[in-house]
Amino acid sequence: MTESAQSTSQIASVDREQWVHLYEQMLKIRVFETQANQLYLSAKMPGLTHLYSGEEAIAAGVCEALRIDDYITSTHRGHGHCLAKGARLDLMFAELLGKEAGYCRGKGGSMHIADQDTGNLGANAIVGGSAGIATGAAMSAKMRGTDQVAVCFFGEGALGQGLLYEVMNMASLWKFPVIYVCENNLYNEYTHYTETTAGTLVDRAHAFGMETAEVNGQDVREVYVTAMRLVERARAGEGPAFLVCNTYRFFGHHVGDINREYYRSKEEEELWKTERDPLTLLAEWMQAEGITDTAVLDQIEVNVKAEAEAAVEFALNAPYPSLDEVDRHVYA
């Protein structure tokens, strides 16, 4: 069966309520990022941040297939992964603002959110930097005899990093329960990936004899059912997988990347935003299928927005770390 034929039959078997939940998860990420951008534009957030808007279906779809005790590692564009794995909006915003209440006591910031309670081993600002960590977590799960699975999220830019290939080789050789999720949003910063990447993406994993899949990363249904399949295999001891999700970021590389026409056209951006918005795609499908209606979706939006606003308020009012935090936690 092809990936999509397989998906179609699996989509039908998913509990309808689950789609509504996925919609809410994606919306949470979307609203979070909109607020984060606002915080940057109004000069309330220190530094820069990389928004995940447009790519929500991947984090939401993959994390929906995971248990709370499964592991993830994330990237510089990591808010979506952290939220989808169960992070709270208020503690996330507090971290973005460098406040003590944040997930990392304000010491990590946007690019380094880690949350042990939800299995999040940390976002990483070194491209490809978490490939070893995720693979090691999977190795550890195997050694400890748990049936946990690890997911390594990374952008297609990380395909340039040698570390990734070293650990993929070992993961395949030793059948580690790890899923490498490659989010191909077409750009490594300001350079189209075809200018930096030879061959095809999935062939890299084929070289290691690894299970692979490639999905439309804007369609959360496809992401979710494919992730389910790969996670189940890994959990059953059948080894790692490599999942390519084709996607697009709606904003710039980071919030300060405003004039983008020298590397991607307005038309291209418009096309993805108007025709390939993962939230719109799911909402329209759910309504067509009679899974839900606008009233329900509107209510979800009201709730999520209210939660996000309260979370921002909380973060803005939260205190900065006390100064003696600066040399705490250097050693355990």
Partner: protein, 333 residues
């Protein structure tokens, strides 16, 4: 030192670097530059904007995100007749290039009994306080300074940046060139036209008699501000910028410390086992009998750079903390 002939102008650090590369690439066809997002994007800091328009994508090359790979390529190209420059976006990422720089580039000339050489430059950054958190804020220039076979340049102003980069490109050895990312937009006097600045010659930015402030890169302006504050309370500080970590102008540092009898070393790398330790040892060695106080070291606090602004600001020396240290050394507290 070849001297400038043009009329003085104010340009930014970024423009100075851009000019140095442009002039050198016009002069020598063997020079190319490779790095991530350096061509059309002109680097995320826009330092190389426009370079690709003149030299094309064959000499201004956008690479994959492969730091060890591009560094290795540059080492091999340098060994075989090219004079490449590799751009490593953030100094934190030099950790990825360590084998290529330390075990390959640095040792090739020696191991080959002088037969092979590696005329390459690595441009990269240092410096905190940009709210970029622990993996984008470090100053790791001490790492390369530790390794025989490498030269390390740490300019502190646009004029030096241009002259030193040209010298780096013309040098027959692997050179690591560290730029403070907070200074890219800083302006300074840079005359038009050709000039170079030799390695191993410190710059005495201000003469003084009570205390010597040896400062590197980002910390030079901190030392200069501290010197002005010291002047207001009647203390005369000499400010010296070594400009290159290796070769190091030991004589100028020692001579100054002998004259003032007190010295503070200020550098943005981690304090322990770092640049400040080395320079303090040089002074302690050479000026021991002339010193009235132990040499004081001021580096970045020995912690991963925190994100939160209130914490990050504590981790680097400031004019105020240098002032306090100088007062203590001079018995003014």
């Amino acid at each position: 030192m070849s001297t400038p002939n043009g009329t003085p102008r104010e340009i930014s650090w970024a423009q100075a670097i851009n000019e140095a590369l442009t002039e050198e690439m016009r002069r020598d066809e063997r020079i190319f530059i490779i790095g991530e997002d350096i061509a059309e994007a002109g680097t995320p800091f826009k330092v190389l904007s426009g370079l690709v328009d003149e030299f094309g994508t064959e000499r201004v090359i956008d690479s994959p995100i492969s730091e060890p790979g591009i560094t290795g390529i540059v080492v091999g190209a340098a060994m075989t007749g090219m004079r490449p420059v590799v751009d490593i976006m953030f100094g934190d990422f030099i950790t990825l290039t360590m084998d290529q720089m330390v075990n390959q580039a640095a040792k090739t000339h020696y191991m080959s009994g002088g037969k092979l050489k590696v005329p390459m430059v690595m441009r990269t950054t240092l410096g905190a306080t940009r709210r970029s958190a622990a993996q984008h804020s470090q100053s790791l220039h001490a790492w390369f300074s530790h390794v025989p076979g490498l030269k390390v340049v740490v300019p502190s102003n646009p004029y030096d940046a241009k002259g030193l980069l040209k010298t780096a490109i013309r040098d027959d050895n692997p050179v690591a060139f560290f730029e403070d990312k907070m200074l890219f937009q800083a302006k300074g006097n840079v005359p038009e036209g050709e000039y170079t600045i030799p390695f191993g010659v410190a710059n005495i930015l201000r003469e003084g008699s009570d205390v010597t402030l040896v400062a590197t890169s980002s910390m030079v302006q901190v030392a200069e501000q501290a010197a002005m504050m010291l002047e207001e309370i009647g203390l005369s500080a000499e400010v010296i910028d070594p400009r290159t970590m290796f070769p190091l102008d030991k004589a100028t540092l020692i001579e100054s410390a002998r004259k003032t009898s007190r010295a503070i070393i200020i550098d943005e790398g981690y304090e322990r086992y770092g640049v400040t330790a080395e320079l303090a040892a040089v002074i302690a060695d050479g000026a021991f009998y002339y010193l009235d106080a132990p040499v004081k070291r001021m580096g970045a606090m020995d912690v991963p750079i925190p994100f939160s602004p209130v914490l990050e600001d504590l981790t680097v020396p400031t004019p105020q903390t240098v002032l306090e240290a100088a007062k203590t050394l001079c018995g003014r507290v």
